[in-house]
């Protein structure tokens, strides 16, 4: 029988499906996980203990029933709000979308500082494309490759593309580690890569630890369709938001006590929103932690090349390569990478999963057919990233420009007495507005934030949307604008801060006035305008 099976395999790769489809294994599995999910959802509610949560849950159940009776007939995924677009992070975007800043056409508009995008090095890439027109296959020079490019739809991707990406990943990490092209799985942007790795590692209802503050999009990327629960591991300013072994252990213990099946830990390094990199010791510790506890570690390193000053970025790959097998179980380590931030090419939708686990590589590769990178784009990037001269120059220029911009911004706000977390990577700073809060609560933070959007006309993202446990922190992006816009933004912050401190001097009287003002600021546009569908950073 086995012999027969393998024979079938040789004549058609689809054999496995057929048996999977007919065996009903899928049905059993999903039924099981579904019921376990319900149990977990309930236990989650119990865990949080909030009546509101429970009500919300019931409400969702109800609304689902409603859906079935009326003509909507949609799934829970389509009708639930787990896509997270109702968070404040996205509210700021709505404000920007309805009134975007333009130096001449709309100088009073909202400046977008909520978008983590690297627009400082566009012209480098443009230059390269102009010099290498054949790479885009759409020129007479490139058309010879057209047949291969157009017809090819293997989910492994072009091997030259994978080689180029592997090499580039190594370059970004200072050539300290080599990456195996055969372990590179592509997917639609880091968003898709993160979701795919969750699909591979966890069942609905399983949980992942995540150090907070974390990128708000993770709620959607990691949990929406996969049904995975995220459990924040609270980090705070007392030790500069560092992740420690103790807090990881505590969080894991607490989660397991609350009946969560914790499958792993996911973290961003360099961190979004903090802009800090993890030091080697912490990484070694974390790797030891996951190896001992037998949970997965997913490292999101999409900001690796944006490290612009020391300490240098240390990839988890280096730790894996250097530590022995007893301390580090390679099968548990997975890296997510993307060109959106490092190359500043979010429109290209190139995400990469690099896993040391063969099973994950194979499964993720099969899943990548849901987010394949267009072959035209693969072809172009393969050529671009194989050009050593270009990559060398690019990797020198990016940190230089970012460091420059970072300096302008931080010095600009330092003059105003605003500090931010010391950072050396990323396209943003983590700004400390705690002293401007009226009260150190979530409410205080949100009212300050509304003031910043409406008065200062800058879209920044409040810390609460990053699940930060301390109110008063804001993420401000500095790389998605030109120098002039940056100056305008700084001027507006200056005006705001001096006004604020004036007000502080004339305390009591003004305070009541400001409260009135705030009421009038409750404009309906946050609620009404429809969030345009950007690929979020």
């Amino acid at each position: 029988m086995e012999d027969l099976n393998s024979k079938h395999h040789t004549f058609h790769g689809l054999r496995g499906w057929h048996s999977a489809g007919d065996g009903g294994g899928g049905a059993g599995g999903t039924m099981l996980t579904k019921s376990s999910r319900r149990k977990r959802a309930d236990s989650r509610n119990a865990h949080r203990g909030g009546n509101i949560e429970q009500l919300h849950h019931q409400h969702r159940k109800m609304s689902f029933l409603d859906c079935e009776t009326n003509h909507l007939l949609l799934s829970k995924i389509a009708t639930s709000s787990r896509h997270g677009e109702n968070s404040h992070y996205f509210d700021g975007w709505k404000a920007y979308d309805s009134d975007p800043y333009h130096p001449t056409e709309n100088p009073n508009g909202v400046i977008q500082m909520g978008l983590a995008e690297n627009q400082l090095c566009f012209e480098l890439i443009k230059e390269w494309i102009m010099e290498n027109p054949e790479a885009s296959i759409c020129t007479s020079e490139g058309v010879n490759d057209f047949r291969d490019v157009a017809i090819f739809q293997d989910y492994h991707g072009f091997s030259r593309f994978r080689n180029a990406i592997a090499k580039f990943m190594g370059r970004v990490r200072g050539d300290c580690v080599m990456f195996d092209p055969d372990r590179i799985v592509m997917s639609g942007g880091a968003t898709g890569a993160n979701e795919t790795i969750m699909f591979c590692l966890a069942d609905p209802g399983d949980a992942f630890l995540i150090p907070s503050p974390y990128y708000p999009g993770f709620d959607r990327d990691l949990g929406w369709r996969t049904g995975v629960q995220l459990i924040p591991v609270s980090c705070d300013s007392s030790n500069n938001f560092k992740i420690t072994r103790d807090c990881l252990e505590a969080a894991l213990k607490h989660a397991q006590k609350s009946n969560f099946n914790v499958k792993g830990l996911i973290m961003a390094n360099p961190s979004n929103p903090l802009g800090t990199v993890m030091d080697r010791d912490t990484l070694v510790d974390t790797v030891a932690f996951v190896s001992e506890r037998r949970i997965h570690l997913v490292c999101d390193e999409i900001y690796a090349a944006t490290t612009f000053s020391s300490p240098a970025f240390v990839s988890v790959a280096e730790v894996v390569e250097s530590s022995d097998r007893l301390k580090c179980n390679r099968d548990l380590i997975h890296i997510v990478y993307s060109l959106s931030k490092d190359m500043g090419l979010p429109g290209f939708r190139v995400g990469v999963i690099y896993s040391y686990n063969d099973a994950v590589v194979n499964t993720a590769r099969r899943m990548s057919s849901f987010g394949l990178v267009s072959t035209q784009t693969q072809h172009m990037l393969a050529a671009m990233l194989s050009d050593d001269r270009f990559v060398d120059r690019f990797l020198v220029e990016v940190p230089k420009r970012l460091a420059n911009r970072h300096q302008i911004f931080t010095e600009g706000i330092a003059k105003l007495g605003i500090s931010c977390l010391k950072s050396n990577a990323g396209l943003f700073v983590w700004m400390d507005f705690r002293h401007l809060l009226e009260e150190p609560t979530l409410k205080g933070e949100l009212s300050l934030w509304k003031l910043i959007i409406d008065d200062v006309k800058i879209n920044v993202s409040p810390g609460s949307s990053f699940h930060c446990s301390e109110p008063g922190w804001f993420r401000v992006c500095f790389a998605n604008m030109d120098d002039e816009t940056m100056e305008v933004a700084l001027r507006q912050i200056e005006a705001f801060v001096s006004e604020e401190s004036d007000k502080e001097n004339v305390v009591e009287k003004k305070r009541s006035w400001r409260r009135n003002l705030r009421l009038s600021l409750k404009s309906p546009r946050y609620e009404e305008s429809i969030l345009s569908t950007y690929v979020l950073p």
Binding site: L14, H18, H71, Q119, S136, A359, S369, T533
Partner: protein
């Protein structure tokens, strides 16, 4: 005890002869079944690899082995080395060598149209410089709407309308705001599956169907497919009675059916669904209060001279409940650019459009690729000419292929759309069963060096049918295929 008592009866001759003989037989049968089960499910390779590396955990006994640590999804459903888009992995490596009378494997298992890519290539060559001049970094590299560039969406309706109807006057009008672009039709179908059904719910799918559905509809969503068998007796047309029966059976089992997925033109059979057929389906869906997903990825490749009716057109002319109709279309497929991965969902239900728009963040189309498509589709003259020539080429290829089959005395369904031909080779199989069919498929590959898809993988209930993708061949390959098929058919006849 209940088993032993009748057995005693047999031994002691006290009646129970019937029971006494049935029970041992049943026991024997179950034993066989058990042994067979155990043998046919060999431990997936991945498990072994994972198991070896799990030494640390085994010692501790906490999370022993990776089998548990890796999600069920990756281990419960260990699918073969790929879907229809990728079965070429092994085949195509050798297929390249085939060419003119070479002896590599001819790849006929992949839905792709290699007949017309030269047209597109020529266009690119002519318009290359135009495109390069219009290159604007901020329009390409920066964050774009994940559900597709507006420029592309605006231009799609016209082009798609052209693909969908051979006669220009019958153009379908599409509303750009109902279009959601996705990276390929696979993700479009998966997205709809995510939007319309919860884990454990099911879709009715007339079989034979494209094996890719098993992955797209079921895998990550946890949704089930209920195959609704169509028979050769009624030319594999979708029958409402069969759908109705399947629906009621599912209902009895307590399974919730959320919709019907049809392919029009059908893949693998190549049938078109008539206007009346579509209206019947709409009535059925309204009766049962379920959705219709109409997979029209081959819309631009109908060539049988018969009228292709898109749901989009139907909703325009007849007053039907549009909210439940969702169309999947693959732009890159019809343009002979499958590598460009540009599919789309066209839905009349604004909630589905809203949800799908959010879902596109996971699989949006690369911006430079969209730009190329914008400029290509803007050239209406080229598109018109392309559509016409492409249809003509497909028509010729199918005629040539059918001629080859006829000469060998093999029957096939008349293909009216798509890239495939549904061939009845039941005369060549040794035993009229799935096993016989798979054996023949094996022979086709080993002796004939032709890779095709056996009908059982398309969930066809009648053995002996095979899907041949003729559009993947070039004209020079037809004599080769003839020789090879003859070889296979002769071997089969000798054997039997």
């Amino acid at each position: 005890m209940r088993i032993i008592v009748p057995l005693q009866g047999v031994v002691q001759g006290r009646g129970g002869l019937v029971l006494g003989s049935v029970i041992p037989c049943a026991l024997f049968y179950f034993l066989q079944l058990y042994l067979k089960r155990n043998r046919t499910s060999p431990q997936p390779q991945t498990d072994d690899a994972a198991g070896e590396s799990g030494e640390v955990g085994n010692e501790e006994g906490v999370g022993s082995g990776l089998q548990r640590t890796v999600s069920n999804r990756s281990l419960v459903l260990p699918r073969g080395s790929g879907g229809p888009a990728h079965v070429s992995i092994r085949g195509s490596l050798v297929a390249k060598a085939a060419g003119n009378g070479g002896d590599g494997v001819l790849e006929m298992g992949v839905d792709e149209n290699k007949l017309s890519y030269d047209l597109v290539g020529d266009w690119l060559q002519e318009n290359a410089m135009l495109w390069a001049e219009g290159w604007n970094m901020s329009g390409i590299a920066t964050s774009q709407p994940s559900d597709g560039l507006m420029q592309l969406k605006v231009i799609i309706p016209q082009a798609v309308a052209g693909f969908m109807s051979e006669a220009v006057e019958r153009a379908v009008s599409f509303n750009p705001s109902q279009i959601v672009l996705t990276s390929g039709a696979s993700s479009a179908i998966e997205m709809l599956s995510f939007c319309l059904a919860d884990p454990g719910n099911a879709f009715l799918v007339p079989s034979p169907y494209n094996p890719g559905f098993d992955r797209d509809v079921k895998w990550r969503t946890g949704v089930e497919i209920i195959p609704v068998p169509c028979r050769s007796a009624d030319n594999f047309n979708v029958s409402i009675t069969a759908l109705d029966r399947a629906f009621n059976q599912a209902k009895k089992r307590g399974q919730k059916v959320r919709g019907v997925i049809i392919s029009n033109p059908s893949n693998p059979v190549g049938n078109l669904i008539t206007r009346e057929g579509l209206l019947d389906l709409v009535d059925f869906a309204r009766d049962k209060n379920i959705h219709i997903i109409s997979n029209e990825i081959f819309a631009g490749s109908s060539y049988g001279g018969e009228e292709f009716v898109s749901f989009a057109e139907l909703t325009e002319s007849v007053d039907i409940d549009c909210d439940r109709v969702h169309i999947v279309y693959d732009l890159s497929n019809d343009l002979s650019l499958p590598g460009f991965r540009t599919g789309l969902i066209y839905s009349f239900n604004k909630h589905v459009v809203a949800a799908a728009t959010k879902l596109t963040r996971f699989s949006s189309v690369s911006a430079p690729t969209q730009r190329i498509l914008v400029s290509m589709l803007s050239d209406t003259k080229f598109i018109e000419n392309y559509i016409k020539t492409n249809r003509e080429k497909l028509r010729r290829a199918t005629a040539m292929f059918v001629a080859v089959l006829q000469e060998l005395g093999i029957q096939c369904m008349k293909s009216r759309g798509g890239f495939c031909c549904w061939v009845d080779m039941s005369c060549l199989i040794r035993s009229y069963s799935e096993k016989g069919e798979l054996e023949l498929g094996d022979k086709l590959l080993s002796i004939g060096k032709v890779n095709v898809t056996p009908g059982s993988l398309c969930h066809c209930i009648e053995p002996g049918w095979f899907r041949f993708c003729f559009a993947a061949l070039s004209e020079d390959d037809f004599p080769v295929i003839m020789v090879r098929l003859r070889k296979v058919s002769e071997t089969c006849k000798v054997c039997s």
